[in-house]
Symmetry: C2
Subunit: 105 residues, 2 copies
């Protein structure tokens, strides 16, 4: 689903990744993280797609909320396993959304 984010400005965390291989635990953790992130303070939405490359974008009200999520206990453990086991490469970009527009047929 395309996230129904509020009027800008708001923040986007762009996570682009390659997986090291298939992992059932990755898939389970990924689902759990989506459920968990949705309950965080300042969370505005998430969009995620994977073919060869994976792109996940979460939207936030502030840098503080992003930092809070980064340090959330279960998320910290998942992030560490991501580095140790699941990803061969990733990049995180923190960006301020200045403008947006939508099209719906």
């Amino acid at each position: 689903m395309i996230s129904k984010t509020p009027k800008p400005p708001y923040y986007a965390v762009i996570f682009t990744s390659f997986k090291a291989g298939y992992s059932k635990e990755y898939d389970e953790t990924s689902k759990r993280m989506i459920a968990l992130v949705s309950k965080q303070q300042g969370f505005l939405g998430i969009e995620s797609s994977r073919d060869e490359i994976g792109i996940t974008i979460s939207y936030w009200d502030s840098l503080d909320s992003i930092k809070h999520w980064k340090n959330e206990f279960e998320h910290k453990i998942a992030r560490q396993r991501g580095r140790d086991e699941w990803y061969s490469e990733f990049k995180v970009r923190i960006a301020l959304v200045e403008r947006d527009y939508s099209f719906v047929k």
Copy 2:
């Protein structure tokens, strides 16, 4: 491929979309647009993934370069066809990347 963008700040254009259905012409135009965008002034990289939802992020040196690409002749025609034929829904977000970090195993 994960784009080798320069040190922030730089811009990201986040394009999130749902297609109306399969179209061979969409696939051809999509490839042509990726070749074309890569030659534009101020272009820094592109990352794209599609499963149900499609996410394409292009990176730019400035708002001017983004505007220039938006008005590029072939791209304008493709964008109009996107609205008329190919997409059921999309959202465009223009964001200033303030920070980034990478992980490579």
